[in-house]
């Protein structure tokens, strides 16, 4: 394994360890079976994730090109299955239950979207042998891929999981941009999206509207929807420079902070590790994304290149949005922090994605 791949592996292990420690800290004092299991399960997921990471790094990523439509179809089926068989938790139907495993197809959908778009924008037509997105017309460059993406996106938002849905949209915009689409199409698309906002507002669920309103003014409902943001900010802020120490964060330990082991793991971490820890964590994440982008830049294969960049973008958006939402500078949407948050689906998909990245780096010289 070459240098860059090793860096990615080290970053993966470092960040995951931080995550595991925080999950342990936020759950160890909570009584009852499920709480005790959470840390062990996460450990198990992490082990699985590592296996998948190594597996994927050894499977040629070009195979994904062949499997793209199969994977896409599978994802759509899984997303549809969620509506039929899905487990309802926290008021949303997001999980599929296989034996004892709760799987979240929306996590898979993020990666599949990246693979799909990477393939779509890098396919060569019979007429042009070169990469040609910039020469495509409005229909083929924008509308067709967007229709493909809006199917899983719509299904995810309908679950309802606004966060993951929006992530798909972001991924689309970034990959569209990176694929070299005409700037005016991008502007056109952004304009349409902006214009559609008021219409979409009415399609949102009430709790989603509340969250956005609360984001604009957290004190409008301090005990309801604003509670989480306020408590999260208190948790992060009270960490100070060095933090309260491991297992000593009052906000997370005494359960003032809801979802302290999943979406708000960053607050838990920042409370106990302080400014120093938070900055180190941010730096690690930045390096990880930077590595992904660097791999993309070095790859000459269009598919590999777009895939690497897409994966980096996917991770980057999730990290940025999650941390921003922890600090109250983005609305609260159900988004995990990759590698930190508790959740099998998230950690497995992230490990797979990083495995693909490593494989792209490894396979680069082949072409």
């Amino acid at each position: 394994m070459r240098n860059h791949s090793l860096v990615i592996l080290i970053l993966l292990i470092l960040i995951s360890s931080f995550g595991l420690l925080s999950i342990y800290s936020s759950t160890h004092q909570k009584d009852g079976e499920p709480w005790g299991l959470i840390f062990k399960r996460q450990l198990l997921w992490f082990a699985f994730g590592l296996i998948l990471f190594f597996t994927m790094s050894n499977i040629n990523y070009r195979r994904l090109w062949d499997w793209t439509y199969i994977l896409y179809g599978l994802t759509i089926i899984l997303l549809l299955l969620v509506f039929v068989l899905g487990v309802v938790r926290l008021g949303a139907q997001r999980w599929l239950k296989f034996a004892w495993i709760n799987f979240q197809p929306s996590e898979l959908a993020k990666l599949i979207t990246v693979i799909f778009l990477a393939r779509y924008f890098s396919s060569k037509s019979a007429d042009y042998l070169s990469w040609h997105t910039h020469k495509l017309g409005l229909y083929r460059a924008l509308l067709l891929p967007f229709i493909f993406i809006s199917i899983p996106m719509g299904l995810i938002i309908e679950q309802p999981d606004l966060g993951s849905g929006i992530i798909l949209l972001f991924i689309f915009i970034i990959m569209f941009y990176l694929a070299g689409a005409k700037l005016r199409y991008i502007l056109f698309f952004l304009l349409i999206t902006a214009l559609a906002m008021p219409v979409l507002w009415h399609l949102l669920k009430d709790y989603q509207k509340d969250r956005i309103m609360v984001f604009l003014n957290p004190n409008s409902d301090p005990l309801g929807a604003g509670y989480t943001i306020i408590q999260s900010k208190i948790a992060i802020g009270s960490g100070g420079f060095l933090g309260k120490g491991w297992l000593s964060g009052t906000q997370s330990q005494l359960r003032f902070l809801p979802e302290s082991h999943t979406d708000f793991i960053f607050a838990t971490f920042a409370e106990e590790r302080g400014f120093l820890g938070s900055i180190v964590l941010l730096a690690l994440y930045y390096f990880l994304i930077n590595q992904g982008i660097a791999i993309g830049q070095r790859t000459s294969d269009n598919f590999g290149r777009l895939l690497a960049l897409g994966i980096s973008a996917m991770l980057g958006i999730q990290i940025l949005v999650n941390i921003a939402m922890n600090m109250g500078i983005a609305p609260v949407v159900g988004l995990p922090l990759p590698l930190m948050s508790y959740g099998g689906s998230s950690i497995l998909i992230t490990c797979i994605s990083l495995g693909i990245l490593v494989n792209i780096e490894k396979t680069r010289t082949v072409f």
């Binding site: 970034i174 941009y177 990176l178 070299g180 408590q231 900010k233 208190i234 948790a235 992060i236 802020g237 009270s238 960490g239 100070g240 420079f241 009052t250 906000q251 005494l254 359960r255 003032f256 920042a270 409370e271 302080g274 400014f275 938070s278 900055i279 941010l282 994440y285 930045y286 994304i289 930077n290 982008i293 993309g296 830049q297 960049l309 973008a313 980057g316 940025l320 941390i323 921003a324 600090m327 500078i329």
Partner: protein
């Protein structure tokens, strides 16, 4: 190219997040840290007892007793509702009101919330009996101020109430907080710092539901310090009983040390009203009563001294050597000063200073005043402690006022006339004194020439502080002169024609001087100041009755007090 753009965007977004973290954790860290403590730390205060106030024999005059509070342990809603209903039934109070108290007093789900204070023992027992059915009712006991002698001494002690804004601003540096119970007026205010209990309490960690997690710290409450007074409860009782339905004040002081043995002011008030959380209307009536029952007339009331001031005049006349004891004046019942006629209350014919004191002859003292001059009178009044506070250990003492020619020129923009001197000579006009000042003045004649500082508190927490209380007096008065006037005071009582002859009682030799003050409206004020036993004075007394009639009325009251003291064997 486009990759670079994305790279930069990501870099800036991460930078932005870092700055946001910096803002939250470093710039606003302190605030959020406090907020997080507020989230999880609860304080359960525990009260100590306020210090007792003891009389000179060590009897508790103001103490503490247990009061019963009804508290509810917050559990589930149904239980609370049930408890509130039961409580309202037993106490006969509105459920909504109790519910409001519950809501306001809530600290944490495990901490009992007091919903009714000071319930009666009978009610407490009745509620306690409900416990098998309603488990979350508890009766808590709490020390409250107790006044076993009711209104007695209320002006000495003052009362207790929740701290007001003015005192809070003044005292917040000394650890006083809102809702603290502090003394208002009297010793409770003056010695509040010693009397107040030191608050203790538990600091607890709670979780998001307010459930108890662990104890972070405990500070035991400390009781306030006891203070012992110079007041003799038996004599105080006699004095208070004799002042019932009167308006005025009586002070009895040890003339040699300045220890206040009894001090009463009428009308008085019941300090219990403030402990009991009486209806606001009752308290408002108390505050707005035109007879001002809350004012301690003994130290805060200012009145013209009338004829009792003649003692100062007599000393001044002899001390300046402008008059001898042989000098006589003829009193035809009035005299002209300038063009105005100044009356005497009787026709005294010719007499010297001794006789003038015995008969309280106004004309004689008009002459005396004109001879020694207004400035000298002013100076002697100041030497006897008038015009400034006596520095007794009570708050809100008035200083009274002694006029002088200079003052009149500056403040009234007019000249001082001989008529003013004549008025001043018999203690009328602008001259204003407090009863405590007059008792101190008369003590000079009892202790043969020193001006003492009156005080009330003998020891704090068992430690004798009389050394600090007895401030050495300034210049001594001339003993011979003092004795001469004291003899005249004795004759005032013993001579059949003396103004205080009714005090010639069997058993104790009293010396004194009466005073009758002309007032613009209503009856005259009545004064009597004196001391007894004459040979070895143990008590200096001042009796003042507001609109009480002539000095005779004050003498009558004095007689009753002394007789009662004799009867109880309090004069040895």
């Amino acid at each position: 190219m486009r990759i670079k753009v994305i790279n930069w965007i990501i870099f800036f977004l991460f930078l932005f997040l870092s700055l946001a973290v910096l803002n939250l954790q470093l710039i606003n860290g302190r605030r959020y840290w406090q907020l997080s403590n507020k989230n999880c730390i609860r304080l359960l205060p525990q009260e100590g007892c306020r210090g007792n106030i003891l009389d000179r024999q060590g009897k508790v005059i103001v103490g503490n007793k247990l009061s019963y509070d009804l508290a509810i342990i917050p559990q589930d809603k149904v239980q609370i509702e049930k408890a509130l209903l039961a409580a309202s039934r037993v106490l006969g109070r509105d459920v909504d009101e109790l519910g409001r108290n519950f809501k306001n007093g809530f600290i944490a789900p495990f901490a009992p919330v007091v919903i009714a204070r000071d319930i009666e023992v009978r009610q407490a027992i009745a509620l306690e009996e409900l416990r098998p059915d309603i488990a979350n009712i508890t009766i808590q006991m709490r020390p409250v101020r107790d006044y076993p002698y009711g209104k007695f001494g209320c002006h000495i002690f003052g009362y207790l109430n929740e701290i007001d804004r003015r005192r809070l601003t003044k005292l917040s540096d000394y650890g006083y907080q809102t809702k603290d119970i502090v003394g208002f007026g009297g010793l409770e205010e003056k010695y509040d710092y010693y009397l107040r209990p030191e608050k203790g309490g538990l600091s607890l960690e709670v979780d998001h539901r307010g459930k108890f997690v662990r104890i972070l710290g405990f500070k035991p409450p400390h009781d306030g310090k006891d203070i012992q007074l110079t007041v003799d409860l038996d004599i105080q009782k006699i004095v208070e009983n004799n002042l019932v339905d009167r308006q005025g004040s009586v002070i009895i002081m040890d003339p040699s040390s300045g220890e206040i043995i009894a001090m009463a002011s009428a009308p008085n008030f019941n300090p219990k009203l403030f402990v009991k959380k009486t209806s606001p209307a009752t308290l408002r009536n108390l505050f707005n009563d035109p007879r001002a029952p809350l004012v301690n007339r003994a130290i805060s009331g200012v009145y013209p001294p009338g004829s009792v001031f003649k003692l100062v005049m007599a000393y001044g006349a002899l001390d300046t050597k402008k008059m001898s004891t042989n000098k006589t004046f003829f009193c035809p019942g009035s005299m002209y000063v300038g063009r105005r006629e100044f009356k005497c209350w009787d026709i005294h014919q010719r007499q010297n200073l001794f006789g003038a004191i015995i008969h309280s002859c106004d004309v004689f003292f008009y002459h005396t005043g004109l001879i020694i001059g207004a400035q000298a009178i002013h100076d002697y009044a100041l030497r006897f402690g008038f015009g400034k506070v006596t520095a007794i250990d009570l708050p809100y003492e008035s200083s009274g006022f002694v006029p002088s020619p200079l003052w009149k020129k500056i403040r009234r923009l007019s000249n001082w006339f001989d008529g003013d001197t004549a008025n001043l000579s018999i203690g009328q006009g602008d001259l204003m004194v407090t009863p405590i000042q007059t008792v101190r003045m008369v003590a000079v004649f009892a202790n043969k020439g020193s001006l003492v500082k009156p005080y009330l508190v003998k020891s704090i927490d068992g430690r004798d502080i009389s050394v600090y209380q007895r401030v050495p007096s300034g210049t001594k008065f001339k003993e011979a002169t003092i004795e001469y006037i004291a003899d005249a005071m004795r004759s005032t009582v013993s001579e059949p024609t003396g103004t205080a002859n009714i005090l010639a009682i069997f058993g104790v030799q009293v010396a004194g001087k009466t005073g009758t003050v002309q007032v613009p409206h209503g009856q005259t004020h009545a004064w009597f100041i004196g001391f007894f036993p004459f040979k070895n004075p143990k008590f200096a007394i001042c009796v003042f009755l507001e609109h009480g009639g002539s000095g005779q009325a004050a003498c009558m009251l004095t007689r009753r007090i002394i007789e009662e003291m004799l009867k109880q064997g309090l004069i040895r």
